[in-house]
C-alpha cells in the first residue's frame, strides 16, 4: 500500500514539475524572426562534370555567421570548392540557395563523424577584397589556415563519350598569418625558417625530432602550435 502511495506521489510530483518546465519553455519562445540570408538560386552545373566540387562530397549541418553579427544555426550546408561558395537548403523555398559570399564572415560545419570545421572569410579582417574562404586550423600568435580548391580538368574530345565536359580535381594549400600578413606555407624547411629567424634552432630541432612533413595537416598544426608557444 505504501509503495503504491509512494509511486502515486512520485508520479504526481513529476507531472507537476514537468508542467512547470513546459510552461517555462512556452515563456521562452522566441518571437518569430525572418531570416535574412541572401543569394541566388543554385545552378547544379556540376552535373556536366565527373566528380564532385563539394567538400567531402557531402552536406553538413552547420551555422553561418553574417557580417551583421547574426548567426544562423542548424542549416543544411554544402561547400562548393570550385566556386568557393556555400550553398544551403532553404526549407521554405524547397531549394538550394547559393549564399552571397560577401555577407558571410564565418561558417561552422559538423560532419556525420562529429568532426568540426571552421571556415572564415577575409582572415585579416581588413575587408581587403580577399574574398576567399579558409579553413582555420589553429589560432595563436601565428594562425594556420588551409585552403581547398577544386579545379576542372577539361575533357579531351575523345573522352566525351560520357557526355561530361571534364572532371573535378582538388588541391590543398596551407597558409599562415603572422604580423597581420598572410603567407603561404613554403615547401621547404629553409624557407619556412626564414619567416622566423629568431626561432631557427628551435624549429629545426622540433622538425627533426618530430619528423614534420610540411604537407601534412596534423604535422603543420603541431608545428605552428610550437612556433606560437615560442614567440
Amino acid at each position: 500500500m505504501m509503495t503504491y502511495l509512494y509511486k502515486k506521489i512520485q508520479f504526481l510530483l513529476f507531472a507537476l514539475l514537468l508542467s512547470f518546465a513546459a510552461l517555462a519553455q512556452i515563456n521562452c519562445t522566441e518571437e518569430y524572426h525572418n531570416q535574412q540570408l541572401t543569394g541566388d538560386v543554385y545552378d547544379p552545373y556540376f552535373n556536366d562534370y565527373n566528380g564532385s566540387p563539394f567538400f567531402l562530397n557531402t552536406t553538413f549541418i552547420g551555422s553561418v555567421k553574417l557580417s551583421s553579427g547574426e548567426i544562423y544555426k542548424d542549416l543544411k550546408l554544402s561547400y562548393d570548392l570550385y566556386k568557393d561558395d556555400f550553398v544551403y537548403f532553404n526549407e521554405a523555398l524547397h531549394g538550394w540557395i547559393l549564399i552571397d559570399k560577401d555577407i558571410i564572415t564565418e561558417v561552422s560545419l559538423v560532419d556525420d563523424k562529429n568532426r568540426h570545421y571552421k571556415i572564415i572569410r577575409d582572415p585579416l579582417k581588413q575587408a581587403t577584397g580577399n574574398d576567399q574562404f579558409y579553413f582555420e586550423l589553429f589560432t595563436g600568435k601565428v594562425t594556420l589556415l588551409m585552403r581547398k580548391e577544386v579545379h576542372i580538368n577539361p575533357a579531351l574530345d575523345n573522352s566525351l563519350t560520357d557526355n561530361k565536359m571534364g572532371s573535378f580535381f582538388e588541391k590543398t594549400n596551407y597558409y599562415f598569418i603572422y604580423n597581420n600578413e598572410i603567407f603561404m606555407v613554403p615547401a621547404t624547411k629553409k624557407k619556412l625558417i626564414a619567416y622566423f629567424p629568431e626561432l631557427k634552432k628551435d624549429i629545426k630541432k622540433y622538425m627533426a625530432v618530430n619528423k614534420i612533413h610540411l604537407k601534412d595537416k596534423d604535422h603543420l598544426k603541431a608545428l605552428f602550435e610550437k612556433i606560437s608557444s615560442l614567440l
Partner: protein, 570 residues
C-alpha cells in the same frame, strides 16, 4: 527507484537551460523621476527612467511611457529607447485635462506579460489653466481629506552633497551648483537627473517612496522574460476585408517611401499574425504594408492589416452614477497666471533635435538586389516623356506592354534569353503592382532604374521573375498615386530628442521678455562618480521665493538616491 531516476532524467531534459537561472540573485530596479510633481495644462513634463541592474548592464530595450488618468484612461504616450538602463523624455500635458491627479507609467513589450506590467509609475498633479477642475464625487471625500497634509521634509543624503556658493540669489542671477559623492559612500557612481523647481509648503507633494510605484525584478526573471529586447514592435493580423477571415501563411512587406531602400518582410503565422521590429526610427513614420502569396509573390487583394496598439490603452471606465459634491480647487503651488503669461509670450525653452531617421535596414539596402544587372540614369540620355518610351529606348532587356488600361512589364534575361513576366517592381522603395501607374513618368521624374534580371533570394522570398527598382527625382509618386494592394499606416516611433534652451542673462538679448519659468533647470543626464564631481549652471527667473534643487537618481546597485537643497531668490 529506477523509475524515479528515469523521471528525473526526463525532467532535466525538459527544463530550459538558462544562464540566468541559478545563484543569480541580483535584481533590476525600475524608477521614474520627473522635473516637477505639479504641472499646468499645456506644460511639458520631463522625466527620466531607470532600469538598472547590479550584475551586468541592462541591454538596449524599448519602453513605453504613458500618461493616464487616475482611472487609468490612456491620455497620451511616447516610445523611448532605453540604453544601459537609462532613458529620458518628455510628454506634453494637453489643455483638455481637468485639474487633478494623473499617472506617468512605463513598461516594455515584454513586461506586458508580467503580472504587474508597469515597471514604474509616478503620480503627478495637473492644474488646468482654463479652470477646468476635476469633480469631487461623494466617494472621493475620504481620499481628499487624506491628501491635505502631505508636506515632505527635505531629503538629505550624507554621502551625496549639493552645494552652491551662497543660499540667496537675485532675480536673473547665475547659480552654479556642484554635486559630489563622499569617499565614504557605499556606491561609486550615481546616474541621476537634477531639477530646480519652486518650493512651497502648500504644494501638493508626492513623496517619492509612497507615490512612486517602482518595481524590482530579479535578474533571472528579467532575462527569462527577455525584457531587454530592443526595437519597436509592429504587430498585427492580416484578414480578408470582406469576411474578416485570417490570412495564414502569407508574406507581408513593410516598406517606406524614400530615396533609399528600407524593406522588411514577415510571414503570417497560423493566426494570420505578422510582426516587424523597427529600430532607430524617430517621430511618426509612414509605412506601406502589402501582402503576397509567398511562393509566387502574387499580390493579395482585399486584405486588411489590423495593427495592434503598442500602448496599453485601457477601456474608458466611466464613474458610476455618483453624486458630484463640488469641484476640486486648483491648489497647486505655482502661479497659474504666470505659467499662462509664459505661454502667451511663447517663450518655450525646448527644441526638437533633428536626428537621422533611416540608419536601419542596412541589410536590405545592401543585399536586396545583389549584383544589379543594369543601373540606368535616364536623365543622362535623351528627354523622354513617359516610361513606355524609356523602356523602349533606354532600358536594355526591359519591355513595357500595354493591354487596354493595364500595363505589363517583362525582363529579358540576357544570359539565357528567357523572358520573365511581371518582375517585382518597386517605386521609391514601395512595391507597385499596378505598373500602368508609372506610365506617365518621363526622364524628368525618374532619377535611377535598377534592374536585376536573374531570380533573387532574400531570406525566404524568391523573386523568380527578377526585380526592377525605380527611383524618382523627388519621391512624390506615392503622394500622387495610391495602390489598392497597399495600406498606409502611420507608425509612432521613438520620441525625437529635445534640447532645452535656458535664458542666458550674461547677454542682454532677452531683457524685455518676462521669465516665469516653473522649472528653472532640468537635466536628465547627470552622472556623478567618486572623485568626479558634476556641476551645472543656470539663471534664476523673475520669480522670487524659495526654490528647491533636487537630485534624484540610482546608484550602480540599483538603489535610489535623493538629495535636495533650498535656495532663495529675492
Amino acid at each position: 527507484m529506477n523509475k524515479a531516476i528515469i523521471y528525473i532524467v526526463i525532467l532535466f531534459l525538459f527544463l530550459p537551460v538558462s544562464k540566468a537561472l541559478g545563484s543569480n540573485t541580483a535584481y533590476v530596479s525600475f524608477c521614474i523621476n520627473t522635473d516637477r510633481n505639479c504641472y499646468v495644462s499645456g506644460d511639458i513634463a520631463f522625466f527620466k527612467l531607470y532600469g538598472l541592474i547590479k550584475s551586468n548592464p541592462v541591454k538596449e530595450q524599448t519602453v513605453y511611457v504613458d500618461l493616464v488618468s487616475r482611472q487609468n484612461d490612456f491620455i497620451s504616450g511616447v516610445i523611448l529607447k532605453m540604453r544601459n538602463g537609462l532613458a529620458s523624455g518628455y510628454i506634453e500635458i494637453p489643455d483638455s485635462l481637468i485639474t487633478g491627479k494623473y499617472k506617468l507609467r512605463f513598461y516594455s513589450d515584454q513586461s506586458k506579460n508580467l503580472e504587474s506590467p508597469f515597471l514604474s509609475q509616478k503620480t503627478i498633479y495637473v492644474s488646468n489653466r482654463f479652470g477646468k477642475n476635476e469633480p469631487i464625487y461623494k466617494n472621493d471625500l475620504q481620499e481628499s481629506e487624506n491628501e491635505t497634509d502631505s508636506t515632505q521634509p527635505l531629503m538629505e543624503n550624507e554621502f551625496c552633497k549639493i552645494s552652491t556658493l551662497k543660499d540667496t540669489f537675485r532675480c536673473r542671477e547665475k547659480v552654479s551648483v556642484g554635486i559630489d559623492i563622499s569617499d565614504k559612500a557605499a556606491f561609486d557612481t550615481l546616474w541621476s537627473s537634477i531639477t530646480v523647481k519652486p518650493y512651497n509648503k502648500n504644494e501638493i507633494r508626492f513623496a517619492s517612496d509612497s507615490d512612486n510605484e517602482n518595481q524590482k525584478i530579479t535578474a533571472a526573471e528579467f532575462q527569462k522574460q527577455n525584457l531587454s529586447k530592443p526595437g519597436i514592435t509592429l504587430r498585427g493580423q492580416l484578414v480578408y476585408k470582406s469576411t474578416s477571415n485570417i490570412v495564414k501563411n502569407a508574406v507581408v512587406f513593410l516598406s517606406f517611401n524614400d530615396s533609399v531602400f528600407r524593406f522588411q518582410y514577415s510571414m503570417t503565422d497560423n493566426n494570420g499574425e505578422f510582426c516587424f521590429h523597427l529600430n532607430h526610427y524617430t517621430g511618426i513614420q509612414k509605412v506601406y504594408l502589402s501582402a503576397f502569396i509567398p511562393y509566387n509573390l502574387q499580390p493579395l487583394l482585399n486584405v486588411q492589416f489590423n495593427i495592434y496598439p503598442n500602448f496599453i490603452k485601457s477601456v474608458n471606465q466611466q464613474k458610476p452614477n455618483d453624486e458630484i459634491v463640488t469641484y476640486r480647487a486648483s491648489v497647486d503651488t505655482f502661479n497659474v497666471e504666470k505659467a499662462i503669461i509664459t505661454k502667451a509670450f511663447q517663450s518655450r525653452l525646448t527644441n526638437h533635435l533633428n536626428l537621422p531617421e533611416r540608419d536601419s535596414n542596412l541589410w536590405a539596402q545592401k543585399y536586396f538586389l545583389g549584383d544589379k544587372t543594369h543601373v540606368t540614369y535616364p536623365a543622362e540620355y535623351v528627354n523622354l516623356p513617359d516610361f513606355v518610351s524609356i523602356a523602349k529606348e533606354i532600358l536594355p532587356f526591359v519591355r513595357y506592354r500595354k493591354n487596354g488600361s493595364k500595363g505589363k512589364l517583362f525582363i529579358n534575361d540576357g544570359e539565357s534569353d528567357i523572358v520573365r513576366e511581371n518582375p517585382m517592381l518597386f517605386v521609391d522603395g514601395v512595391p507597385l503592382t499596378e505598373v500602368e501607374l508609372i506610365e506617365n513618368r518621363g526622364t524628368d521624374k525618374i532619377r535611377e532604374i535598377d534592374v536585376r534580371w536573374r531570380p533573387r533570394v532574400f531570406g525566404d522570398l524568391l523573386f523568380q521573375n527578377g526585380i526592377i527598382m525605380i527611383w524618382s527625382n523627388h519621391p512624390d509618386f506615392w503622394d500622387l498615386n495610391t495602390s489598392k494592394y497597399i495600406s498606409v499606416y502611420n507608425l509612432e516611433c521613438y520620441q525625437p530628442k529635445m534640447v532645452q534652451q535656458y535664458p542666458d542673462y550674461s547677454k542682454a538679448s532677452q531683457h524685455n521678455l518676462p521669465d516665469f519659468r516653473q522649472t528653472l533647470y532640468w537635466n536628465a543626464d547627470i552622472k556623478v562618480a567618486k572623485g568626479q564631481p558634476a556641476s551645472i549652471d543656470f539663471y534664476t527667473s523673475d520669480e522670487v521665493g524659495t526654490f528647491e534643487i533636487v537630485l534624484k537618481g540610482m546608484d550602480e546597485n540599483g538603489e535610489p538616491v535623493t538629495v535636495s537643497k533650498l535656495i532663495k531668490v529675492e
